[in-house]
Amino acid sequence: MADGIKAAQTQAVLQLRSPRPLRYWLYGGLGLVGGSLLAALLFGKGFALAAVGDALQLGLTATATVLTFQNFRQGRGRARVFWLLIFAGSFLWTVSNTIWATYELCFGRLPDLPVVDLLLFVKVVPLTAAVLIAPDRERDERSRAFGLLDVSVLMVYSLYLFAFGVFAYRLLPGAEPIYNFHFNLADAIGNQTLVVVAGIAVLRARGHWRDLYRVYFFFVACYGFASNLSNVAIDMGTYYTGSLYDVPLVASLVALVYVALAGRPGEQNPAIEQASKTPTAPSNHATFLTEHLAMLLALSTPVIGIWLLSSATAPPQLRSFRVAITLLAIFVLTFLLSVKQDFLAAGLFESLQRLSETYSSIDRFKSHLAQNEKLTSLGKLVAQVANQIKSCMASILEVSSRLTSRPDVDSRIQNMAGKIGQYAQRTDVLVDNMLHFAKETPLCLAPLDVQPVLESALHLSRIAKLPQVRVDITREGDCQLVRGDSGQLLHVFLQVISNAIDALEEVGGGTFDITLRPFASNLVLEFADSGPGLKEPQRVFEPFYTTKPVGKGTGLGLSTCYGIIQQHEGEISCRNRPEGGAVFAISLPIALPSVPENNQSAALLAEGAR
């Protein structure tokens, strides 16, 4: 078993790795990395190198953006959110790269815009969130929303921290070095967090997601290295676009595009679309952690505010900015939390409702059971009697067969014994039917002729013996065997007939016409009575729906029939005839031509019922 799974996994992994675009991309990407390395080594700092480097980075990020957007649009469930977040990250990256390239190539200088820094830093946040959302674990709709909310809290919080610790220095004149230092620090912390989160994801995930996370981990590790390297290089003034510092960056981008390609939902790797459902227990743990982390982070903002007020060293300008963004962060985080509270309350609401519904139906079923106790015990008695009769018939059959099989006895005796045997057989089948009907036997679908079952039901219900009731059976066309369970179908027919009896009694007699006719691949049985008709035809099959006086109808009979016919993959419906009376139509799938093994028992059934 385990081996089988493993084999399936390896196969899937091979499938994951084998698609053509992926392999091509692997070579192409390696080529790009090698090319950028060569270019950095061969060419010195200059416009051409910068143009090539910028174009390469922009092209790669743009490709990743497009691919992840496609993945997002085709994805399902949590994976969809995962791709959305990665798309957001790639998009932010592309925008910052565009600005960078525009400045460098068109204006001939590096951009000194806070926006670029912000974008550079912020893109890490959705990239981290994408992993945190744990797309490899499937959860129900509500907790998916929860996860998204918690992740938004994390995102808002990291933005707040950025504004608080880095961006605030932008407002101070002459604080450029502090700003740069803090920016690098924040960037490094963000990247390190991403690396750690992705690393944990690799360890935790199983199967295809693990492979995907591995590449993702490579991407973030590469990127973190490249980012730290270039940040330091920029501060030292040795960085220029297309230089050696950019090579790891190109490698990381290649990996990102690879992730996007590998995660493409579709026929190549359907596994990525769906989460692996096997590890369920730790997933609760993961959400638990995110949940509490989000809450604690939200709680920390006012504490930071208090600390801000008590530390008087910061310049007033910085302080007032920080106070303002702290208040803003508190507002946004509290808002997110109140949305979450609403979700929780809604869940509570829904659960309570469902609970009260199930409780009330349990009550109804129980009262139904109590109400039917008498009939149930009567049924048990009938079953007992039937068993008793069965044993009697067995010994009679035994004796009679002994008599008939002896060649030496008188032909009159043989004749009599034969007759006795026949009748005993008939009784036995009848009793068998009753027992089979009462037993909790699993549904056994086999080709069968419905007419004998129908006749047996008519006999048992003795509808024909009622005064002023005329019963007619019409067969239209060639009525083939259907796939069915004779005992269960007997139950259904009896129920429908007993319904008709009630209806006919109400108007003091009438006609009861049964029509059998093939229709498409089904056999349709129509039971038409000339009674008063149905009051609410659309509700007839609802459980507990009854129009009969209290203590008479239980309202479960026809709903049970509905269930049985559904199990037969057939249909039961009812309507009122324009000329008055109700029609119940049962359609059963015609049995495919095969060995009609049940024919014999059907014949016996007919025999027994006669």
Binding site: A298, L299, P302, S320, A324, L327, I330, F331, T334, S338, K340, Q341, L344, A345, L348, F349, S351, L355, I362, K366, H368, L369, N372, K374, L375, T376, L378, G379, L381, V382, A383, Q388, I389, C392, S395, I396, V399, S400, L403, I413, M416, A417, K419, Y423, A424, T427, L430, V431, F437, A438, H459, L460, S461, R462, S498, E505, G551, K552, G553, G557
Partner: protein, 435 residues
């Protein structure tokens, strides 16, 4: 409506106190004894109202005991604030007392009234999830105090600036009163007798309280007020009205809600209001950042207050989330169990349905079976009549007869049972005599 003797006594006493106040206010001139008397009046009335409310504590139904306890606590807090003034005047402490204690108590009293009303005492379904409910109420009251702390307190803590403290405090109290009045009015509209009458009386009391308080404040500001004057009358009347409200409490029983969901919806809305309240604090503080001419110590005090309040409120919300999540998990488990239970019962029903149908068939089955049995019996008699039968075969034939008789007697016993207690809806049995 008849009142218990003790309640009758309280009510009479309260009426006498109120009438005496009217008489004294009409005749007496301002003096020290009058001040003491005037201050003692609301205290005495409040004590009586608390005593009357106490009689309702031991009510078994729903949230009513909790409601009356909260109501009594509100009255007691109000009494505390009144007693505070009484104490100052009595000790002839002429130096203006710091208003913080008395005012805080006054605001707190209203919070308790509001909390009591939020329990919706008229509903029998109320009282579920009381713990979460109380958390919401605590959140809301903390929010009120944060507002008081934000708008009024800074003008008393750092600096004694009554000109800025008093108006904001008055405004807050007025808003609080208006909120209570609106809440009671809504309850009044949404309910029918006898709860409508109850809420109408409460409405009258709170309108009178709000008006009386406003009048008092205006009179104090314009220096026309002295304790024991007619300015006290509406306020005293409001407190006096609490008395019969509490006294007639026992005649009220919670009535079942038409929809159980309403109860839940209500708690959802309480939670939303609480969250809205919390959300408003950072917004107020943000707007406050741009307020001009604000002394820096006031601004710092406010910010510190808002941050502390947010820590406190956030902690409570965190706790509440855990409670909610716990509740949800519990409920989900319960639901799962009950669905399992339902499946089992459903299976039982399906089986019993079959037995029922079999029972219903009993008469037909008995008839169907007895026919071939009669035939077998007939043939076996014919068999025994055959002269050429060997003794062994005769024994066989007799054994067949014996078995048939046994089977027949089984059928007969079934028929007898059917005759003794016919199946409830076996039309066949009712119409055709068993043959």
């Amino acid at each position: 409506m008849s009142l218990p003797p003790r309640q009758k006594f309280y009510l009479t006493l309260a009426t006498l106190i109120f009438l005496a106040h009217l008489a004294v206010a009409a005749t007496a001139k301002p003096s020290f004894p009058l001040t003491i008397y005037g201050d003692a009046n609301p205290c005495a009335l409040l004590i009586l109202a608390i005593l009357a409310a106490r009689e309702n504590f031991r009510r078994p139904a729903g949230v009513l005991p909790v409601f009356w306890k909260l109501f009594a606590i509100g009255l007691a807090v109000l009494l505390g604030s009144q007693f505070y003034w009484f104490y100052y005047d009595w000790r002839r402490l002429n130096a203006a007392p710091s208003p913080i204690t008395g005012d805080t108590l006054f605001l707190l009293g209203n919070v308790f009234f509001l909390s009591a009303l939020a329990l919706r005492p008229h509903s029998a379904a109320a009282g579920r999830n009381l713990r979460i409910r109380f958390l919401d109420l605590i959140l809301l009251s903390l929010w009120w105090f944060s507002l008081y702390g934000y708008f009024s307190l800074p003008w008393q803590v750092g600096r004694q600036d009554f000109s800025r403290y008093t108006p904001s405090y008055y405004l807050l109290v007025l808003i609080q009163h208006l909120v209570i009045i609106i809440a009671v009015a809504v309850l009044c509209i949404k309910n029918s007798a006898p709860w409508r009458g109850f809420y109408l009386r409460l409405l009258a009391a709170f309108v009178s309280l709000a008006a009386g308080n406003l009048l008092l404040n205006v009179a104090i500001e314009s220096n026309k007020y002295y304790a024991g004057s007619f300015y006290d009358t509406p306020f005293l009347f409001a407190i006096y009205l609490f008395m019969p409200i509490a006294a007639f409490g026992p005649s009220l029983q919670p009535c079942p809600d038409g929809r159980t969901n309403r109860e839940l919806m209500q708690s959802v809305w309480t939670a939303r209001f609480a969250m809205l309240g919390i959300l408003s604090l950072p917004v107020i503080a943000l707007l406050g950042l741009y307020e001009k001419d604000l002394p820096s110590d006031v601004a710092t005090f406010r910010l510190r207050l808002v941050f502390s309040a947010m820590v406190l409120l956030g902690g409570l919300v965190y706790w509440k989330f855990n409670l909610l999540a716990l509740e949800l998990r519990h409920l989900v488990q319960l639901t799962r169990d009950s669905i399992e239970n339902l499946n089992i019962v459903q299976q039982q029903v399906t089986h019993s349905e079959k037995l029922v149908a079999l029972g219903r068939l009993a008469a037909g089955a008995a008839h169907e079976i007895s026919n071939p049995l009669t035939a077998i019996f007939g043939y076996s008699e014919l068999l025994t009549d055959i002269p050429s039968l060997t003794s062994e075969d005769r024994a066989n034939a007799q054994s067949i007869q014996l078995q048939v008789r046994r089977a027949q007697s089984a059928v007969t016993s079934l028929r007898d049972t059917l005759r003794q207690n016919p199946a409830p809806d076996s039309p066949i049995l009712d119409k055709t005599p068993a043959s």
